[in-house]
């Protein structure tokens, strides 16, 4: 095929490194064929977007159907390799300070009552009648640059356009995509020079001379060619078609020389969009809904050009007992390639119908029909966001190494966690605990709610006092922990772990509603920041900034610190005297800086999570989710002291009563060992068997040896175990300040 240039080309594209001229209106496929080439080395060309035989690498993206891609100046096209698959696009190591250029695929959204896909006669008719009924209608057609990729629930129609993606939300979708032409399946059908009747019409209209063309079956309209009768037996030629061999009713083979073979072998419904949207309000009209006769059962040749499946493969599969469409498909891979059965579907069905005696339905289609890149699919999608505390920039300025933990960016350390550790143990240190969950619960039923939620008693907490509490689920398993601070008879402030806060809020609200209690629940997790002032000099520091009489252990009150109104809670997680200052998030930087300034000569330093994890481990304090597991009861955590089984009822009590008498083989113990701490997660061995694992470990700078919390899960629980190839002993926490004198100081 070649043309006679009549005028200057509209422009050039580059195919396999060589410039190829194109005319106005050409697609890439047409431009390539205008120059006498084939977009994919061989195979029937349909120019209808139905087959894989014009796929190429366009501007770096493989598997682009060039018959659907307009030729534009300088477009870089590379054909797929003749054998094997295209390579991955080159890996670019991105500059981490920049978003990759390809990141930006724009997305627009639209809605219409009725979306009609296809603007052929049946599509126009459907659109006209829907409009007449007063519906808003949107018609999408690939020829207008609206390639419908898939229909999802909603229904939502995903469309690719030259300028980006379009997501259309519809009440109903009408698929009016017409019919595809059936490709020939016979020996030689991978040669160049075979086109469908519609493709021949398009090429002729584009002014392309088809040379010595013959047509078999339904002839193209207006295309000069020699019609020949009979059924195609094979195509002959080396690389390109040189002749077509047909057979008539007389069973005599006739060889007709040609340079182009035009095949008009009938139609098959182009119904993939409706086959992928089972259960959705998606209708099918026009030829897409028609039941066309299947082609004859194929006997030789390539049946599935995508997966390179030959008819003999289908026969081989059938002979091995794979006797239904799905099994034939899966075993031969016929229909599992790029066009998802667009080419092979009718032949595959004809094959199964012939061998089984029953005409099978076409298999379910899957998104996407017109393929999209991952970039196009994910355009306008955002990954998880991680919250920043109001002190984020303070941490960065102090050299903090920030890490994501429990949904927040948090300082892991500020360079050296041991320095931070000593500041807590010997002087004073600040920790950013803004991430803690914070709920205010008030109202006439507040006490009732908390008594039912928590396994400890609440009514006896006096206003101004606080208590450490566990939160259990109905199975009696620990899901969170925190503090209850009683402010008045009917008002409480609850705190939760950072990672558990979101769930805890839902938990509290859900149960309040379930029980129909009169309470108000206010989530102040985001509106309040919190700074933990901890260390033996913590009280001294606070006195310097205006807190004349700091509250005593487990007391709390509202006061002003460095001019900032704070809810001051006296507690201890680090093992030293600690004051949590809860305050309005917008005053946080001011408060932090004032404290750092006032504590300068006291040796104040901020501490990160790494130091905190070690500090609390020396005290044996459990971190929910790190030390506890999905089924950790208070008994297993050795925390029965935090449960009042003589309370009338609380969440989890029924389960705890039931399991109290069951044999239990799981227990969290403290361990000590000489030398450095083993890696967290290390197996715990006894008599050559794995009997548990280390949950948390820390090389205590103060004690000079390793301290650990770990699970033993085989009874009887051994006293001496091996960890990291060393001897370790069970030891009752706390490992540091066992009487809690410093924490209460």
């Amino acid at each position: 095929m070649s043309d006679t240039p009549t005028s200057a080309p509209a422009g050039r594209i580059v195919v396999d490194g060589l410039p190829i001229p194109y005319e106005t209106g050409d697609t890439v496929a047409v431009a390539i064929m205008r120059s006498g080439g084939h977009p994919k080395h061989g195979g029937t060309v349909c120019l209808g977007g139905d087959c894989p035989n014009c796929s190429a690498i366009v501007d770096g993206v493989p598997y682009v159907r060039t018959c659907q891609t307009a030729a534009t100046p300088g477009l870089m096209v590379r054909r797929h390799p003749a054998v094997g698959n295209p390579s991955f696009p080159a890996v670019a190591q991105p500059d981490i300070t920049r978003t990759p250029v390809t990141d930006h695929v724009s997305v627009s959204r639209a809605s219409a009552d009725i979306v009609v896909i296809g603007s052929g006669p049946s599509g126009v008719a459907a659109a006209t009648s829907a409009s007449a009924d007063g519906h808003s209608v949107m018609v999408l057609d690939a020829h207008d640059g609206n390639e419908v990729v898939a229909i999802y629930g909603g229904p939502t129609v995903i469309v690719r356009r030259p300028e980006g993606m379009l997501h259309v939300h519809a009440l109903r979708v009408v698929v009016a995509t017409g019919a595809a032409e059936i490709h020939p399946v016979c020996p030689g059908n991978n040669l160049r020079g075979i086109v469908t009747a519609r493709a021949a019409e398009q090429l002729h209209a584009a002014g392309i001379n088809l040379g010595n063309a013959v047509s078999i079956g339904n002839a193209p309209v207006g295309v000069p060619c020699t019609p020949i009768t009979g059924i195609i037996v094979r195509f002959e030629g080396s690389g390109s078609v040189s002749a077509v061999v047909t057979v008539g009713d007389d069973d005599v083979e006739v060889t007709t020389p040609c340079t182009t073979a035009i095949v008009g072998l009938g139609l098959a419904p182009r119904d993939m969009l409706s086959r992928m949207s089972g259960g959705l309000p998606v209708g099918l009209v026009g030829q897409a809904a028609e039941k066309f006769a299947l082609p004859p059962c194929p006997t030789a040749g390539t049946v599935c050009p995508c997966s390179r499946v030959e008819v003999e493969d289908l026969e081989g599969v059938w002979a091995r007992g794979f006797h239904e469409l799905e099994l034939v498909k899966r075993a031969s891979l016929c229909g599992t390639g790029t066009c998802q059965g667009g080419v092979c579907g009718p032949h595959l069905r004809a094959f199964v119908a012939h061998h089984s005696g029953a005409e099978p339905e076409m298999f379910t289609a899957r998104p996407a029909t017109r393929q999209i890149t991952l970039a196009e699919a994910s355009a306008d999608t955002y990954t998880d966001v991680f919250r920043r505390s109001p002190l984020h920039d303070e941490h960065l300025a102090l050299g903090g190494q920030l890490d994501r933990f429990g949904g927040w960016w948090r300082p892991w350390n500020y360079g050296n966690h041991e320095v931070e550790y000593w500041a807590v143990r010997e002087a004073v240190s600040l920790g950013d605990v803004s991430t803690l969950g914070k709920l205010v619960v008030s109202g006439p039923d507040a006490v009732e709610l908390l008594e039912r939620l928590y396994p400890t008693t609440v009514a006896d907490i006096k206003p101004g006092r606080s208590r450490y509490v566990l939160l259990l689920n109905e199975r009696g398993h620990l899901i969170d922990d925190g503090m209850i601070c009683r402010e008045t008879d009917s008002r409480f402030v609850l705190t939760f772990t950072s990672g558990g806060a979101a769930n805890a809020e839902m938990w509290v609200r859900d149960w309040a509603e379930t029980w129909g209690l009169q309470v108000h629940i206010l989530d102040r997790t985001m509106s309040l920041a919190a700074i933990n002032v901890t260390g033996p000099l913590a009280a001294t520091l606070l006195q310097r900034v205006g807190l004349v009489d700091p509250p005593k252990f487990l007391q709390h009150r509202h006061d002003t610190v460095a001019g900032v109104p704070c809810h001051v809670m006296r507690l201890s997680f680090t093992g030293e005297a600690s004051f949590e200052l809860h305050h309005a998030a917008d005053r946080s930087v001011e408060l932090w800086r004032a404290l750092m300034e006032a504590g300068r000569d006291l040796g104040i330093k901020p501490h990160g999570l790494q130091a905190l994890f070690g500090l609390r481990l020396e005290k044996g304090h459990v971190i929910v989710g790190m030390d506890s597991e999905l089924d950790s009861t208070p008994r297993r955590l050795d925390m029965d002291w935090a449960v009042k089984m003589d309370k009338p009822d609380f969440l989890g009590k029924t389960a705890l009563v039931r399991t109290a008498s069951l044999p239990d083989h799981r227990r969290l113990f403290g361990f000590t060992m000489e030398g450095r701490a083993p890696t967290e997660g290390s197996p715990i061995w006894s008599d050559g068997n794995v009997v548990g694992h280390v949950a948390s470990s820390f090389t205590s700078p103060l004690l000079g040896h390793a301290v650990m919390l770990g699970w033993l899960k085989h009874t009887p629980f051994p006293e001496r175990v091996q960890i990291d190839g060393r001897e370790a002993s069970v030891a009752q926490p706390p490992f540091y300040d066992p009487k809690g004198r410093r924490a209460r100081a």
Partner: protein, 402 residues
């Protein structure tokens, strides 16, 4: 004929009978593997496998074909390591080419807590017989050059655990290998037969009711996926199982240049390249329980976004096909295998998103349980009564994805 077809063995379909020693509901990997091991290891061949659709039409034909043993608790590591080893020998044993390839799996971490989990995984795996070690960013880059260690600037790669023995195999061919091996020895496989109820004598289950008539059985095993709670309800067994949809997708086929398997807890996605060259990408199961197999665009979009943050070259790859399966997820994210407390009715369920890798060991162990009437040690921790005993096999960090 291409090599994929040439290497398939023949299916020998047998006519149905009215009674069998063992009836297995569900013609997926687990059901067929159990039948295979009953026949090959215990000489029990009077067995029927009943499948509502065609064999392998459920999750066995919808998974992401990953075989690994790098779990977080010893019982799981040991079980899946057995499975991994059985997989490695399956081609020799059955004569079927399942396209098994040992590839190694990188489980990446982007945070200190992520690294903590991977270090722990490596240690517990090693202690229980699965080869896993911790690797740093440079080693990761050597194993998988396509990885962007900056995670597109958002998810920097701090390290990974590298599970050396992880492999992939063609899911359908695993199903067929077991089906062929079982049928060859006389096992009947009934396709397109729906179990509509269980036959009972008093409390004991003595067979199944199907849409093609009743079939009596000495033992009935449920190996169904997706609808297990309905089957179990016929025996008045209540299961701590919820069913969730899980979606996955493949791209078009490319040259075989992607060496291993990449997993990521924080991004909750995973990817490998199929022998045909497609990139096979999966995600976490959907949070809300559902029996719907309708794929969603949101799932495709978010998974595509996440996976390409560490593998940016994927952005320019085209999605070929997206699909959905439904997974039975147990209360502790581990499978439930064994006796149910109802005579004549045993169960293998709760396979969630990790059933494919458990097929050989699950089938082997359930066959032994049925043949001997006692629970083998390897699966004793996974018995249904663990929930009553409050000894769950919780392994959220390992089982959630993949």
């Amino acid at each position: 004929m291409n090599e994929f077809v040439e290497t398939l063995l023949e299916m020998q379909w047998h006519e149905p009978k009215s009674s069998y020693d063992v009836v297995i509901i569900g013609g997926g990997g687990h059901g067929l593997a159990t039948a295979y091991y009953l026949a090959t290891k215990h000489g029990i061949t009077n067995v029927a496998v009943i499948e509502a659709n065609y064999i392998g039409s459920g999750n066995s034909g919808r998974n992401t074909t990953i075989i690994r043993a790098n779990y977080g608790i010893p019982e799981s590591v040991r079980f899946y390591q057995r499975s991994l080893e059985l997989y490695a020998g399956l081609e020799d044993e059955t004569g079927c080419w399942i396209m098994h390839a040992t590839k190694g799996l990188l489980w990446m971490a982007h945070t200190e807590t992520g690294m903590r989990a991977e270090r722990a995984r490596a240690l517990i795996n090693t202690a229980c017989g699965a080869e896993t070690h911790v690797v740093g960013p440079q080693e990761i880059k050597q194993i998988c050059p396509q990885i962007d260690l900056t995670g597109s600037g958002r998810y920097p790669v701090l390290g990974a655990s590298y599970h050396v023995g992880a492999a992939t195999a063609r899911h359908d061919r695993v199903v067929w290998a077991y089906a062929q091996g079982a049928m060859q020895r006389g096992v009947t496989v009934l396709q397109h037969t729906k179990v509509t109820g269980l036959l009972r004598e008093g409390e004991r289950v003595v067979g199944v009711e199907t849409d093609r008539g009743p079939i009596s059985a000495g033992v009935v095993m449920s190996a169904v996926g997706g609808n297990v709670t309905k089957i179990a309800a016929h025996a008045h067994v209540r299961l701590p199982v919820r069913t969730h949809a899980l979606q996955a997708f493949v791209t078009n086929a490319y040259g075989l240049d992607f060496p291993g398997i990449i997993s990521d807890s924080e991004l909750s996605c995973y990817v490998s390249q199929t022998p045909r060259g497609q990139m096979l990408i999966g995600a976490e199961f959907e949070p809300q329980p559902s029996y719907s197999m309708q794929s969603t665009f949101n799932s495709l979009a978010s998974c595509a976004k996440k996976i390409s943050s560490c593998l940016p070259f994927l952005r320019e790859l085209r999605v070929l096909r997206q699909w959905t399966g439904i997974c039975d997820v147990s209360a502790d994210f581990s499978p439930i295998m064994g006796f149910t407390g109802v005579d004549g009715f045993v169960i293998s369920t709760g396979w969630g998103t990790w059933g494919f890798k458990g097929i050989p060991a699950g089938g082997q162990q359930m066959a032994e349980l049925i043949a001997t009437g006692t629970t083998p040690d390897l699966i004793a921790p996974f018995a249904l009564d663990r929930f009553e005993r409050d000894h769950s096999m919780a392994d959220l960090g390992s089982a959630g994805t993949r």
